[in-house]
C-alpha cells in the first residue's frame, strides 16, 4: 500500500512513465517488425485458406487486447472508486480509447476475413454480437467521462458502467462454446494442445506481445498527458512548462 502511494502520486508516476516510454516503445517496434516479417513472409501458407489466414496476426492480438484492456479498465476504475486512487482513475480513463480501437480493429479485420471465408461480412452470432457490445461499452464509458466536467464525479459514474460491463467478458470468451456460432472456437487455450502449427504460432505470439507492449506504451504516454492537464495548476507543472519556454 505504501508503494502505491509513493508511486501513485501523479508527479512520481509522470517521471516513472516518462523514463519507461522509450524502452516500451523500442520493444514494441522490434516485436512488431519481427512479428510482421515472420507472419507475412516466413510462416507457411495454410492448407485450407492459403494466404488469407495471415490476417489473424492482426485480428487475434487485437481481439485478445480488446478484452484484456477492458478487464484492466474495470479493475482500475473499481480501485479508483473504492480506494479513491487518483492514478487508477487516470489509467482507467486513458485505457478506454485504446481498448475501443483494439475492439474496432478486431471487428473490421474479422469482417474482411469473413467475406471470402464464411461468405459474409457480418452475422449476428453470439461471438460477433458480444464483441460489438464490448465496443459500445467502451464508447459509452468515454461518452460518460466526457459528459461530466468534474474528474472525480466523472470517474465515479463511469466506474459503475465499467464494472457492470465486465460481465460481458466471459460471455465473449465462452460464446463459442455455449451456443452454436459461426465463429470458430479458440485455437489456443491454456489447457489444450494448440491447434495452430508451430511455424504459424510463433509469429502469432510475437504479434500478441507486440500489441500488449503497444498498449503499455500508449498507456504511459496518454496517462502522462492526462496528468499534466489535471495538475495544470500545480507548481511542478508550472515549473516544467516554464523551464521549456
Amino acid at each position: 500500500m505504501k508503494l502505491i502511494h509513493k508511486y501513485g502520486a501523479p508527479k512520481r508516476f509522470y517521471d516513472l512513465a516518462g523514463s519507461m516510454v522509450p524502452w516500451l516503445a523500442a520493444l514494441t517496434a522490434v516485436l512488431m517488425v519481427v512479428g510482421l516479417y515472420l507472419g507475412l513472409y516466413w510462416a507457411p501458407r495454410d492448407y485450407q485458406q492459403g494466404n488469407a489466414y495471415r490476417i489473424m496476426f492482426i485480428h487475434v492480438p487485437n481481439a485478445w487486447m480488446s478484452m484484456m484492456a477492458y478487464v484492466a479498465m474495470a479493475v482500475l476504475a473499481a480501485a479508483g472508486y473504492i480506494w479513491n486512487m487518483r492514478l487508477a482513475d487516470i489509467l482507467a480513463k486513458v485505457t478506454a480509447p485504446l481498448g475501443a480501437s483494439f475492439t474496432l480493429t478486431a471487428l473490421v479485420t474479422g469482417s474482411l476475413w469473413g467475406k471470402p471465408m464464411w461468405g459474409t461480412y457480418w452475422v449476428w452470432d453470439a461471438r460477433l454480437t458480444s464483441e460489438l457490445i464490448l465496443f459500445f461499452l467502451y464508447v459509452g464509458y468515454m461518452a460518460l467521462q466526457a459528459s461530466i466536467d468534474d474528474p472525480r464525479r466523472a470517474a465515479h459514474a463511469s466506474a459503475i458502467l465499467a464494472i457492470v460491463g465486465v460481465v460481458n467478458i466471459p460471455i465473449i470468451h465462452y460464446s463459442v462454446y455455449w451456443w452454436h456460432t459461426l465463429h470458430q472456437p479458440a485455437s489456443l487455450t491454456l489447457t489444450n494442445q494448440p491447434k495452430i502449427y508451430i511455424t504459424m504460432l510463433i509469429p502469432l505470439i510475437m504479434m500478441s506481445l507486440a500489441f500488449m507492449f503497444f498498449y503499455l506504451t500508449m498507456l504511459c504516454v496518454r496517462a502522462r498527458s492526462e496528468i499534466l492537464w489535471r495538475e495544470r495548476n500545480a507548481d511542478w507543472v508550472r515549473k516544467l512548462v516554464g523551464s521549456r519556454t
Partner: protein, 147 residues
C-alpha cells in the same frame, strides 16, 4: 464499517447481482441465441416449421452436385442428414467434409431450400504439407486397424 469497505461491498454485491440477472436473461433467451439448428434438431421438430431459419452441419463426402449456379448437397450431423438446394456463389471454404451453415426454408421433410450458404471455419491452422502428411498417417493407421 469503513467507507472504503462499504464501497468494496457495494461493488461486489452489485457485480454479483448483475451477473445473476444477465445469466437469467441469457438462459431464458438461449433458444434465440442459437445461430443454427442441426439436422437432428430439425427432424425432431425443434426448429421453426415455417419461415426462415439456419441449418448447420457437415457437407457429406461425394454428395455435391453442381449444375451452373445451382448446387445440391447433403448436410449431415453424422446422425441425420438433409438435402440442401442452393443457387448462387459459394464461399471459398465450401467443400466436402467442411462445416457449413445454410439459411433458408424447409421444403419437405428432409429437403431445404437455402438462400445463403456460409462456410464454418475450424480452429486448425497448418501448412499444406503437414496436412497431407497428417492425412497419410491417418490413412495408414486406419489401414493397420483393418488388417
Amino acid at each position: 464499517m469503513r467507507k472504503q469497505n462499504k464501497r468494496l461491498l457495494f461493488v461486489l454485491i452489485g457485480l454479483a447481482g448483475v451477473s445473476v440477472a444477465v445469466w437469467l436473461v441469457l438462459s431464458a433467451f438461449s433458444h434465440n441465441l442459437v445461430f443454427f439448428y442441426s439436422p437432428t434438431q430439425v427432424l425432431a421438430g425443434k426448429a421453426p416449421s415455417h419461415g426462415v431459419f439456419r441449418l448447420g452441419g457437415i457437407v457429406e463426402k461425394g454428395s455435391i452436385k453442381k449444375e451452373g449456379l445451382k448446387t445440391t448437397f447433403t448436410l449431415t450431423d453424422l446422425r441425420h442428414s438433409m438435402v440442401v438446394h442452393y443457387k448462387g456463389i459459394l464461399p471459398d471454404l465450401f467443400r466436402q467434409g467442411q462445416g457449413v451453415v445454410v439459411q433458408g426454408r424447409r421444403a419437405g421433410t428432409t429437403t431445404f431450400m437455402a438462400s445463403q450458404v456460409l462456410a464454418k471455419h475450424g480452429a486448425n491452422y497448418m501448412p499444406p504439407d503437414v496436412a497431407a502428411e497428417l492425412k497419410r498417417s491417418m490413412a495408414a493407421k486406419a489401414k493397420a486397424a483393418l488388417s
